[in-house]
């Protein structure tokens, strides 16, 4: 691997999150509380799913930043994290608190692109979903860009399709395939 790497804590979580995606996490284990503490000085942490295949060329993760936090009703720390970019991970190590760290190299992905061509049906449908879902509404504050890449990325996160399929949209296939897939399910 060439290029500049950053050493970051890794949170193993079976979550598919692309750049621009926001999610809410509950943090209760000591090592992950420690991770949250480290996140600000280190510049975030990486969420990486263990469902990735043994055969793929590299292990990837979502580099996230904490954008909000509060204590949940049951006293558990809740943080909202937003994904900035995808990263390739290597040299994964575990510290004495069993917290994982890895060298992360930024991996460019179509979900970071932007365009002004609107995908009317997909973004309309997404908008109405966000309006009807309290949590999504809270996380995104109604700020839904009209960027088609953004829209397809959110749909890909939300659709109930197996992780290994979603995984392919990071590893091999393009935005066009992802768009076709979302389209064929959402608007027919």
């Amino acid at each position: 691997m060439s290029g500049k790497t950053t050493n970051l804590p890794v949170f193993p979580l079976d979550l598919f999150l692309l750049p621009g995606g926001i999610t809410r996490l509950r943090i209760f284990e000591p090592r992950y509380l420690k991770m949250v503490g480290l996140a600000t000085p280190l510049g975030g942490f990486v969420i990486s799913s263990n469902k990735q295949s043994t055969t793929q060329a590299y292990r990837w993760g979502s580099w996230v930043n904490i954008i909000n936090f509060e204590q949940g009703k049951d006293g558990v720390l809740e943080i909202d994290v937003s994904c900035d970019c995808l990263v390739e991970l290597e040299n994964i190590q575990q510290d004495t608190d069993k917290l994982l760290f890895a060298d992360a190299l930024v991996h460019k992905h179509w979900s970071q692109k932007s365009s002004t061509t609107e995908l009317a049906s997909l973004s309309g449908s997404l908008k109405s979903l966000f309006e009807s879902n309290k949590l999504l509404n809270e996380l995104y504050h109604d700020k839904l860009p009209n960027n088609p890449y953004w829209t397809v990325s959110r749909w890909l996160e939300l659709l109930p399709i197996p992780f290994d399929i979603k995984n392919k949209f990071v590893l091999e296939s393009s935005y066009t395939e992802a768009k076709k897939l979302v389209h064929s399910i959402i608007s027919q």
């Binding site: 292990r59 190590q93 069993k98 994982l100 449908s125 296939s173 076709k180 897939l181 064929s184 399910i185």
Partner: protein
Amino acid sequence: MVVEQTKLPTGVSHAKSNGMNENIDHTQLSEWLNQVADKRCKIAFTHLFKFFAPKIQRIARSKFPNEAQSHEVVQETMSNVWRKAHLFDANKGAATTWVYTVMRNVTFDLLRKVKSNREDNLSDDIWPIAEGAVTEDQAYEDHLESNQLLRVIDALPEAQQQVVKGFYLMEMSQEQLANHLNLPLGTIKSRLRLALAKLKVQLGEEND
């Protein structure tokens, strides 16, 4: 001194051969499972599917009133057979016993999901499908280990809890999607199936 080698059939093996059904070709089934495990052979899998799926469907229909759920049992069981075939060990028992275990576990988890609304998939912990081993969705890949990186699997029980409690599930269920699009669940399911099948063709073309 010559030891008498000829033995009368023992009670056990006699009973066993009687218990084994003659209309099931156990050797063939084991062979197919091994081909699936070693070569990821789709033809062998199709044979297995044609042998087991209708029978699984029949059994599932007796446990679930709903046809979609019995299809789910077939789909889930055969999908586990495909993904876990390498855990089958012909020396430890018949292929039918192994597939039965997989089916029973899938059925148990689905019944628990329907009755107690719990998706904790406890069955493989209660009835391990391979001795001394668990299949771990959460496991880190072999290539991490072969790189002599730390065995992070220690972290697993907690990691599993994270999966249950660590984040608010963003991914919609098929039911939610059906509701949102105001379409019948069956339509959503077949759309998803179709979309994934199409995708396979597209990716296949690209990989050539």
